[in-house]
Point group: C2
Chain length 388, copies 2
């Protein structure tokens, strides 16, 4: 594994600016940021010091996978064996103590997560540390100072390095393979569950996924009146049967080795009505306007306004019920991810930032239409990673 | 929604025994335990007091779903609107303050999670509270005492109420529909990803799932030498192509409205060899012996020994690399779930306890075979929920 030296340099600069000696992270997407490894059971700990040493402490079961994707120094522990029966915290105490000693962090200013954040799912079950990381660190290193590194990590996650962008492009290629099956999967009489499952099958078996260690994620189908509810923070596939004339929203959040996509396309069952035609052209016009507003230095609220103004001009302002986007990459559906593309967002765009752009309209009882892309800010504008 | 009065009574008794005035929970499976609602974004908070009042504070988007499954008093908050742009902790502060006041918990002994636990995945993205629940409660109610309720909740989760068993039976019926497609999906030349995806499709579209609000979960396929690695804490579907004579393990963790299954079956590509025949008969004999050892009052280590002794008698003791089971229901793949069926487990079985029973053998480089069922302790023995 080649080191992502750009990320390491940025992290060390960021830690220096807030006078942290080190960061210790347990959330899976934070471990990915620091080490390049996307944990499975989310019971790995990543350590980065101001000297640039980077370690990851992980369950022995995950060592082989970690070595394939991370250049961090790897130490392992065994949460459980046939000869040992403990809970997870006792299993971590000794290895964590050794690591703190090895890195000389007994009296350090250590950055840890303190705030509530949205984290992408790394497996069907994953560890939740609750207060236990700070409890353990306070026991092991009572003279250390535990500071919040929430702001530092959220800021770092907003702008991707060139290597991280390569990962995101790969993720975008795989999700595109799923969407290629969407139009053909939509047929009147099928349930939303049938449609979502058929697209999911194509995604799950896409040859494009052979390039990565772990490709997974979910496709959702929301049709007719259910699509009108798709402005919620979550997507939900139900048992409704598709009818002629329905709008059908296909939404996906997928992951390639920890790098996430957030994509939506909307289809019609049968021939689109005039109303649906004009909704679509308004949304595509809003998309174009907001893409044109993206460049380094632009403010999040301005990009949102570019889309919103177009929809308002079409009399659809009220129907656009959420912000035009949010940071995507180290997570998928996190509304608070930086940069926020929202009417009130002061976030300033920088080269390498990635986010979704999702102009949409929702009409209660009728349906909804959304076109959601994953985009990256470039030196001279924007690049759409999901240009299909 | 009818109230699960059995659960509420047990929780209140349990809280009384450790002198807690209330519990406040944020982890999705804990919210389910207290309220009957399985959160989506895992940013819901459940409150249960010694007086038996039960409230849940959840994002407005989830209210409709919560009302269908929970009899708790529901209060909502809005993490984000077009007119408000905040992070999640500030969005929770006011509603949490009101709830603490309403319930009179300003000086109470409040139980919260402090330890590292394994939590099932409630959505593709979910909130991780890290230290924030205790930080917020300390701000809002500085005179309250925050105590660990980890032990209380883990103990409560071990034994299911009759209503919770109905949910688990439903989950078992849905996962069975997936497994019905397994044998037909296994063909030489297919990749593990192909096989897993075809079974997943049948599970995702099973008519049995129409009975529940949210049915999801993952099927995994591990073949030949990859099945030899399936003793790890996690399952992983790879790109390997199935070959004639391979052992093929199909593993599933699925969820119906928050109640989880953990099931594995092992198949052979083509005609089983003599070695495979004798592995299977040894495993089925170990299964039978351990089932016979299950009854209220039995100790976890004895149930493990019943399976282990049989495999040892067949010369397969070394190949059985993990404990014979662990608690399943409020989570799936949590090795520390009570009761632990492990050589060192002192856990005493009680009526209503549910766990998986997974006799297995693994031979590095060759393959692995596991037969994993979900079982419930009954008054006079055991019931297999996945008897297919």
């Amino acid at each position: 594994m080649v080191l992502d030296s750009v990320r390491r340099t940025r992290l060390i600069e960021g830690m220096g600016a807030v006078k942290l000696d080190a960061c210790v992270c347990c959330a899976a997407s934070d471990v990915l940021l620091l080490t390049g490894y996307w944990p499975i059971m989310a019971m790995s700990l990543a350590f980065l010091t101001m000297h640039g040493t980077c370690h990851v402490l992980l369950p022995q079961d995950e060592e082989e996978l970690a070595r394939k994707t991370s250049s961090a120094d790897i130490a392992t522990y065994q949460p459980e064996t046939l000869h040992k029966l403990t809970d997870l915290m006792p299993a971590l105490t000794q290895p964590l103590t050794r690591m703190i000693q090895k890195l000389g962090l007994e009296k350090a200013r250590i950055g840890i997560r303190k705030a509530l954040t949205e984290q992408p799912s790394s497996y069907v079950v994953s560890a939740n540390f609750h207060d236990s990381l700070s409890i353990l660190l306070n026991q092991i290193a009572p003279s250390a100072k535990l500071e919040s590194c929430d702001h530092l990590l959220e800021t770092q996650k907003a702008s991707k390095t060139p290597r991280e962008l390569v990962h995101l492009d790969r993720a975008a290629k795989i999700v595109a393979a799923g969407f290629a099956a969407a139009e053909g999967a939509i047929k009147p009489g099928l349930r939303e569950t049938d449609v979502a499952a058929r697209i999911q099958l194509v995604f799950d078996t896409a040859p494009e996924a052979e390039e990565v260690q772990r490709s997974y994620g979910s496709f959702y189908c929301m049709s007719g009146p259910n699509a009108a509810k798709a402005h919620a923070a979550y997507a939900r596939t139900r048992q409704r049967r598709l009818q002629e004339g329905d709008l059908v929203m296909i939404h996906a959040n997928t992951c390639a080795d920890g790098y996430w996509t957030d994509v939506t396309r909307t289809y019609t069952v049968g021939t689109p009505s005039e109303r649906q035609h004009s909704m679509r052209s308004a949304i595509m016009e809003a998309r174009k306007a907001s893409l044109a507003a993206i460049h380094p230095g632009a403010v999040g609220s301005a990009v949102d306004a570019a889309a919103r103004d177009v929809l308002e001009a079409h009399g659809l302002g009220e129907a656009f019920k959420h912000g035009a986007g949010h940071g995507v990459g180290f997570a998928a559906a996190n509304a608070t991810g930086r940069p926020r593309i929202h009417p009130l967002s002061p976030d300033v765009l920088e080269t390498g930032m990635t986010f979704n752009l999702e102009p949409a309209v929702y009409f209660e009882g009728y349906g909804g239409m959304r076109h959601c892309d994953l985009v990256a800010v470039t030196e001279d504008g924007v690049r759409v990673l999901t240009d299909f």
